[in-house]
């Protein structure tokens, strides 16, 4: 199908060394790994693979908007207000920027929801869109596990219903295993990163036809 087609898949380009060319519309992915494992880079690579023209919305609870902007400029994404928006709940002050929707705190779940709807409307309520969320771990510093889970459940189902792709990051080493298990159930597939003997590896669980084996994934 043609690029930009509403119901066609979301190509992942060379974001990951796996045998999957694209994700289905409405999928939600979790990128999970310890600090310094490059999960943020993987999230951004999945949002902006080479040659993609899909509109992008990034919700951030820690990195302030300018830093995210730079990341996408580096990826040759078109960061104009027509195709690119940031929901910034990092609390960092900033200048007026037509691509940025500010929320006072990640604890304001309603405010994040309102900002998300404004961001989607701002890029023209498109039939295709890639949503990034960085990060679940920071969100958990502001709200309890039940609220965090409920918020992520509702947001991920909102994008599924619209046929969008959702990509979220989590550092599992900073939470109880039990929470990680529960929150993982929200997602269709989990991309896990780890470091073994100084080299990085990746595995993917939840995609049909893919054996969940660790594969070398140099930085």
């Amino acid at each position: 199908m043609a690029e930009g087609d509403a119901r066609s898949e979301y190509p992942l380009g060379d974001a990951l060394p796996i045998d999957v060319g694209a994700f289905d519309p409405g999928m939600n992915l979790l990128v999970s790994g310890p600090a310094m494992s490059g999960k943020r880079q993987v999230v951004f690579d999945l949002l902006a693979p080479a040659a993609s023209t899909d509109p992008i919305v990034v919700m951030t609870t820690d990195d302030p908007a300018p830093r995210i902007h730079t990341e996408f400029e580096d990826r040759q994404s078109c960061v104009t207000p027509e195709t690119f928006r940031i929901v910034d709940a990092s609390g960092a002050p900033g200048d007026d920027d037509p691509t940025v929707h500010r929320v006072n705190s990640p604890a304001d779940l309603t405010g994040m929801g309102v900002a998300f709807t404004e961001a989607v409307e701002g890029v023209g309520s498109p039939p295709r869109l890639r949503l990034g969320f960085v990060s679940i771990s920071t969100l958990l510093q502001y709200v309890d596990a039940e609220r965090a889970f409920s918020f992520l459940h509702v947001l991920s189902r909102r994008t599924s219903a619209a046929g969008y792709l959702g990509v979220y990051s989590l550092d599992p080493t900073t939470h109880e295993d039990r929470f990680v298990n529960v929150v993982t159930s929200i997602f269709d597939a989990v991309i896990e990163l780890r470091e073994e003997d100084g080299s990085r590896e990746v595995r993917v669980r939840g995609l049909s036809g893919m054996a969940p084996e660790w594969t070398a994934f140099p930085y």
Binding site: L109, R147, V154, V182
Partner: protein, 198 residues
């Protein structure tokens, strides 16, 4: 939230004829309370009220101000604005969950209230889903797969999780309605105390 079947509705309007009409429409299905101005609305409001129908233009404390004070109290109540003209402003950003344009009909009024009640129930279901998943994770921690397979309570838990999961998935189609999506998050936001430290 009350457990009474139909729910409790608070009608707030300075026009007593309007209040009387709404009461007639609603009292067969819901517990109805009434208030003719903002101050008495706030006085009538407690945790047993499920839905407030709030007139936007009232003498004294305005509907918008009443709304802000309702939200400050975290009562887990859904609020529909009742207005004479289609709102040309952002009802989501203001904190309303829905709106009704005057004059309204018996059917529209009840449909709006039932929608808001089902929204509260949905938010409650999402929380329940989380608690069941957490319970399952805890059981899996402590017992072997073999033990769990033979455990009837665990099988019941699995069945409840599956049934709730499919209910939630079916209802998620409504989230493409922005007002519904945001109102669901608000219902999650003001679900009692419990913010984490940090």
């Amino acid at each position: 939230m009350t457990t009474s079947e139909g729910g409790t509705v608070l009608i707030v309007d300075d026009d007593r004829d309007v209040v009387r009409t709404y009461r007639r429409y609603l009292e067969t299905s819901y517990d109805v309370r009434e208030a003719y101005d903002g101050e008495s609305a706030l006085a009538q409001l407690d945790e047993s009220v499920d839905v407030v129908l709030l007139d936007r233009r009232m003498p004294g404390v305005s509907g918008g101000e009443v709304l802000d004070r309702i939200r400050d109290r975290d009562l887990g109540v859904r609020v529909a604005m009742v207005t004479a003209v289609d709102p040309d402003f952002d009802i989501l950003g203001m904190g309303f969950d829905d709106y009704i344009t005057k004059p309204t009909s018996h059917d529209e009024l009840r449909a709006t209230i039932d929608d808001l009640l089902s929204l509260s129930q949905h938010a409650e279901d999402v929380r329940e889903y989380h608690s069941l998943l957490a319970k399952r994770a805890a059981l899996r921690d402590g017992k072997s797969a073999h033990e769990l397979d033979r455990n009837e309570a665990f099988a019941d838990l699995e069945a409840r999780i599956e049934s709730l999961r499919s209910t939630l998935e079916a209802e998620a189609a409504d989230y493409t309605d922005d007002a519904r999506f945001v109102a669901t998050l608000r219902a999650i936001d003001d679900s009692g105390e419990g913010a984490a430290d940090g």
